[in-house]
Subunit: 150 residues, 2 copies
Amino acid sequence: MNPSQVEAYLHEHIPLSAAMGITVVESSPERTVLEAPLGPNLNHRATAFGGSISTLAILTGWVHVHFRLRSEGHAVHTVIHRSTVDYTAPITSTFRATCERVSDAPWARLCRGLDRHNKGRVHVDVQIESGTAHVSHFRGAYVALQEADG
Amino acid sequence: MNPSQVEAYLHEHIPLSAAMGITVVESSPERTVLEAPLGPNLNHRATAFGGSISTLAILTGWVHVHFRLRSEGHAVHTVIHRSTVDYTAPITSTFRATCERVSDAPWARLCRGLDRHNKGRVHVDVQIESGTAHVSHFRGAYVALQEADG
């Protein structure tokens, strides 16, 4: 799926992604980048709401893991298992979350888990930036499960 | 502020809380309880989206800390600094986040920080349940800062 197809998928199946105005800037096994405008994601201080930052990052990691597995032929569903976010600076404009390609060893472990036990687990890091400033860091653990009919 | 006033405040100042259909069930220094319906918070698996669970918990902890400080006479603003969520079971109906009263020692530390340095920090735990099942756990660190004109 190309970025606009991924975006349409998210908006259709995860209504909060549409309410937040999330766009998919890049989606490939190399890198996934999602973006959100400030307007629908404001808090009481006129900066980005922590819940929106956390949500954008969770989705970015999910898109990266899920669609890379699918592109490699794994018929899986993927769920978030644990998330941690550090909010390091206030955000006053559009913000962007980037998940770089998971490195080979943990990716191979995830795939081995799927092949042997129909279940694998992987950690991903997502950096959140606004303009040129680094504003938050996310680390998530995702679990992929072989589809029953996969 | 009573629960319906807190709810109106959230919906006005944090649009995502309105998009999620969040209601404030209880808001007092003893306990804060926020609830969200499944509809606007669905994911691609027809269960509650992790971003929504995380967001409901962040708001619940924030309401608890911020409005208890305000009710005790501290003119502060309060921000999330770190959040961790464990997603332990899928959610298939309305879900509810509960933050119990922070115990005396950490609360006194928070207030001492505000009095001495215009800044304090506190950790809170939030339990997320759906029906009678425990489905997620959240731990958040919040920072309260004395208002410049407070």
